[in-house]
Symmetry: C2
């Protein structure tokens, strides 16, 4: 409940005892960086020349202090850093990009397509932003509307140094373009032909298999996978297909009976699917749900049909923890944070000119909760 304000602690200019921030004058007294007019949004910004003058050194020395690319004596370094703080200096991003040929910005390309679970997408997105900031990079948001031209434009104009793409399809038109782009890129998800591109994702095939193995362990003989909406499969979305493959293979491997069904996201459709399924398969005792939006509906539906979880039916979900946890669902976590971090990490490696593995598959982990 104090969440809304927890951020404040990190912020120097809101330390006022009462809620009403006093006027700018009072704040400036306290904050180190505020003395220069910089604190007050005056017109012109502080430049490196002024910092150099203030510290009594050459412009290049300031630059080297800030970048650490050459040795600087402790004394000089301190003086420069002091001046930077006193004047409230922030390097001009455009000038820096022009001179260094690095914008320190990466593009996050996220097509918002039907059937994708937006909250999960956003978790990826925020983890990418956070990770990028750790490398002192910012994130430019590119959406589908502009299509390939958006990527081309951002790359060609040196607006961004590299790209992270989400929601990759098996036959994704962006992939051939990426192969030809000078800027490095990392995909979250796997296209059918991943040659020449760098990909990272949860190992969904292993995840599907893991769910089956868990249910087999628990002694179930007949299990069904409720997956993404049909449109997602038709489009060839990689993660959905791969889960399906892993699930199917594991079924055979463990000698279980079962099948997979796509699953829409409205309560009515879920309910129809579930009740149809239960009617058709009286022996069914295990359910794998790989659809964040539908998973709660599935549980409601089972409740409404009078089936107890896990007594009558065991349920394993493949979804983020914040969906699984409140519902006390045994689940394979979708590690959005980790994937985003990994993607950015790989991109930074490529930007540094280092080689990276073309494919990174994160090992799925299953957490047992109350539903199996």
């Amino acid at each position: 409940m104090t969440d809304g304000h927890s951020v404040d602690g990190q912020v120097p200019d809101r330390d006022m005892p009462d809620g009403h921030p006093a006027d700018a004058r009072a704040e400036d007294g306290g904050a180190v960086d505020a003395r220069a007019e910089a604190g007050h949004a005056t017109g012109r910004a502080v430049t490196i020349v002024e910092v150099a003058r203030h510290a009594g050194v050459a412009v290049s020395t300031v630059s080297y202090v800030l970048s650490g690319k050459r040795a600087i004596s402790a004394d000089t370094r301190r003086r420069v850093l002091d001046s930077v703080r006193t004047l409230g200096y922030h390097p001009n991003a455009g000038a820096r990009a022009l001179a260094s040929k690095r914008a320190n910005v990466i593009a996050l390309v996220l097509p918002l397509r039907a059937g994708m679970h937006v909250p999960v997408l956003m978790r990826f997105a925020t983890s990418v932003v956070t990770a990028a900031r750790h490398f002192d990079h910012d994130v430019l948001l590119l959406t589908a509307d502009e299509g390939l031209d958006g990527l081309r434009r951002a790359a060609a104009s040196a607006l961004v140094d590299g790209l992270v793409l989400m929601d990759v399809e098996l036959d994704d038109p962006r992939v051939p373009l990426l192969r030809r782009l000078a800027e490095p890129s990392v995909l979250i998800g796997f296209p059918a032909d991943a040659a020449g591109v760098t990909c990272v994702d949860l190992d969904f095939a292993a995840a599907g298999a893991l769910c089956v193995a868990h249910l087999a362990d628990r002694g179930h003989h007949e299990v069904v996978l409720l997956g993404a909406p049909a449109v997602v499969y038709e489009r060839g979305t990689a993660f959905a297909r791969r889960t399906l493959e892993g699930f199917t293979a594991a079924l055979a491997e463990h000698g279980l009976d079962g099948m997979a069904l796509p699953c829409e996201e409205s309560f009515e459709e879920v309910h129809a699917t579930v009740s149809g399924l239960l009617a058709a398969r009286p022996g069914l005792s295990g359910l794998v749900v790989h659809n964040e939006a539908a998973v709660n509906h599935v549980l409601s539906s089972l409740r409404q049909l009078g089936r107890k979880v896990p007594q009558d039916l065991a349920v394993v979900a493949i979804c983020p923890d914040d969906v699984a946890e409140p519902a006390r669902l045994t689940s394979v976590l979708i590690p959005a944070e980790e994937v985003g971090r990994e993607a950015v990490g790989l991109l930074m490696e490529k930007l540094a000119g280092r080689a990276v593995p073309p494919a990174t598959l994160l090992v799925p982990r299953l957490t047992v909760r109350a539903s199996t």
Copy 2:
């Protein structure tokens, strides 16, 4: 699947079999020709100097053709534009920003807080991106993690020209900062003290009142508002509070009996709230739901409790159309697209140095569907 190549057609780099109109510098000739591979992401990018040489004009002329800031003869314009296309020229964003003091990038600040409905947030976000692109601007994504420092940094380094902030609280710590920033900003939502900042949002007070009026029209005498999770109110989120105010005022105005309740988002909690409510208020006949995440649970819950909508209970929702439509809910639309577009439009006006109204309230519209 041919998409990946159809766009390539726009980069006419195959016009070259014929020699280019004799380039004076033989030595450079190689560089120009190499540009033919521009479509193929070769190393160095085309610069305005090469375009100027290719078109046989001065660099400044190319710039003026592209910016339209000075009159250029039709003939020259055509030649320059041809060269631009032939060489696949994209102005360097950093250089442009440095020289013009405009990055052509705006920041989208979106704190991802508990209780906010992410899909709705994303609709705002994408509409902001789309609108920004119409003004030839890109969007930098800033999240909460960096807090105020993120804003300060982006603004001070001239990374962005202006900011759009979402999910504004009544007492938002970002507002005082914005007032002091040189960069213009627009808030989506209203803080308690909106002096000195530009805000735009749906008129939630009017929306709440509109729902009550509609129910009163339908002859209901006792109505309840199911709102956002409690934490959202405690935090002082403006839109939640304002809906509440509008609702309460309208209740009095129409002489209706009723009250407002916060509402959590899990099915169990919703169900508890709803059944408690029905037990406590046997006369209740109308429900206003302002909680995108809970609205489907409310309907499930009513179904489970054997209450028919709208016969036993009328339901009006305040939510985006894609939630209301499938459920056939009478609703007041949250016009995310329109709000985003308006916010960007206002920001562009401010960037152009023009005055804008400090507050823009979009008039709510109610769509009658099957639930009332």
